[in-house]
């Protein structure tokens, strides 16, 4: 530990430089992460609105429909099923369709059917499950018609798949770049001290003894780099939030993940670079 800290003092410039390099490569990764997190949240918000409406045949006894509503709610895909009676449908129409208020007021008979509005659980808001649930609803004898935005759900599906693929590829690319940059930085630090390593080995230092300060140092640099990167990301997030659009930041676990990622690369990078030197003298 003492050795590890001493090295920071002996080569403050190089140490600061490597922490900065690590911080920026993790920052770039972090920025991408922010985009991914926000995009996912936006998509989730859109998916929330996936809804299937089953219109009930006029004259169906309310008890039948209420029972069915309970059955539907028990479907594994279903988050909630809400019965909208003829009266409340009319009330809602009056409220929402202001342009037709007068027209609606003059009606003598309510033309609107009762319906059951079904919302799906988060994992099931895609075309496959929407279709399955819709088919099941259609099978109910009192159901007149089932509606959902089929095109819309399918588009959402495509968008989600695209986002996932892009996220994976770009994210992996950024992660690889970060690994390479951090690995190179750490390797430089080890290379700078290769003479010292050779001498240590000549005077009888065990591999563990040689390795330990480097591992500690690598991990420490990764950790510091990660913390700085989160700081930079937070600053960027604050700016974006203030001047561009409302967005959300990483959860604590995600932030910790980035710091941990830096620490692990620092550690593994040191392990590999020192190992290379330990094979010789």
């Amino acid at each position: 530990m003492r050795e590890a800290l001493l090295a920071f003092r002996r080569a403050p410039l190089l140490s600061a430089l490597s922490v900065t390099t690590i911080a920026f490569s993790l920052f770039v990764l972090g920025l991408f992460g922010l985009v991914a997190v926000n995009l996912r949240q936006a998509l989730r918000g859109v998916a929330e609105r996936v809804e299937i409406v089953a219109y009930v045949l006029p004259g169906t006894p309310i008890e039948t429909v209420t029972l069915a509503e309970q059955d539907i709610e028990a479907f594994p895909e279903v988050a909630s099923a809400e019965l909208v009676t003829e009266d409340s449908a009319l009330a809602r129409a009056r409220h929402e369709l202001v342009e037709f208020r007068d027209l609606l007021r003059e009606l003598e008979r309510n033309p609107l059917p009762a319906s059951i509005e079904v919302k799906l659980k988060p994992g099931y808001q895609n075309a496959q499950h929407v279709n399955a649930v819709a088919d099941r609803l259609r099978g109910l004898t009192f159901v007149d018609d089932v509606r959902f935005g089929r095109d819309w759900v399918e588009k959402l599906d495509r968008l989600r798949r695209l986002a996932a693929a892009v996220g994976l590829v770009v994210g992996a690319a950024f992660a690889i770049v970060a690994v390479i940059i951090i690995g190179t930085t750490i390797r430089m630090a080890v290379l700078q001290r290769s003479r010292e390593i050779a001498i240590m080995r000549l005077v009888g230092a065990t591999n563990g003894f040689v390795r330990r300060p480097f591992l500690l140092q690598g991990a420490l640099k990764g950790l510091l780099g990660g913390v700085v990167a989160i700081g930079l990301s937070y600053a960027a997030y604050t700016m974006i939030n203030r001047y561009l659009i409302a967005s959300s930041f990483f959860t604590a676990a995600q932030a910790l993940g980035i710091v941990l990622f830096g620490t692990v690369i620092g550690l593994v990078g040191s392990l590999l670079s020192v190992g290379r030197h330990l094979k010789r003298v």
Partner: protein, 233 residues
């Protein structure tokens, strides 16, 4: 103490380095390893401190069978050896004192005992006054003394010196050689590789001469009489 038996060494890219080398250096002995550069002197020393393994043959050092030594035991062998090089191999960013202490820290010596032990060897090599000087502030001879102090601080049974005077002027050479003789006089075996024949002739020590990787002359074998006194031929 050091025993090589029928040692052959072939380098992957560069042909035969050692051909059937055998010799035995006893406890407390002083032996020169001579020969032109490339004759295999450094290779012999590398085999002794387990930086290289022979292609065939056996190397025994201070109770260790080096040829069958597990990598994890190499550090323990080296702690019983002191090694000195032509280029000193000091750490430039540490003082003389710190360079010597380094060899103790590495072995996990008790921290409280280190300063006293360091000062003792620095005194022994005549550099107590320059303990806090950095290598760049020292002359070549002084730097080599620091290196020797570092080699001695673990109280080795053998001191290996690979051309220790190769980079030094005549005066410094004499001083360093005298220091090695003193060290030997106090009981430490010394194996010194050199091509300085004048120095070799100036002392009544054993001489092992290598030529193209083979021992062509060993005063202990070829002229046992010369060992016990007079000047070797």
């Amino acid at each position: 103490m050091i025993k090589l038996t029928n040692v052959f060494k072939t380098y992957a890219k560069g042909g035969l380095a050692l051909k059937d080398v055998s010799f035995h250096i006893a406890k407390g002995e002083f032996a020169f390893l001579t020969g032109h550069s490339g004759a295999g002197k450094s290779t012999v020393l590398k085999l002794v401190y387990a930086d290289e393994q022979p292609t065939s043959g056996e190397v025994r050092v201070s109770g260790y069978l080096v040829t069958e030594l597990a990598p994890r035991d190499v550090p323990h062998l080296r702690r019983r050896l002191g090694i000195v090089f032509q280029d000193f191999r000091l750490l430039e960013d540490r003082t003389a004192e710190e360079n010597v202490a380094f060899a103790l820290e590495v072995t996990g010596a008790r921290r409280s005992t280190i300063p006293a032990r360091v000062m003792r060897v620095l005194t022994q090599v005549g550099l107590a006054a320059k303990a806090s000087a950095y290598p760049r502030e020292l002359s070549g001879g002084e730097q080599q003394r620091v290196a020797i102090a570092r080699a001695l601080v673990n109280e080795p049974q053998v001191l290996l010196a690979d051309e220790p005077t190769g980079n030094l002027d005549e005066r410094a050479t004499r001083g360093v050689f005298q220091l090695l003789r003193d060290i030997n006089a106090s009981g430490t075996a010394v194996v010194m590789a050199t091509h300085d024949l004048e120095m070799v002739r100036s002392a009544p020590y054993r001489v092992i001469e290598l030529q193209e990787g083979a021992v062509v002359y060993d005063s202990a074998v070829d002229e046992p009489a010369a060992e016990s006194g007079g000047q070797p031929a």
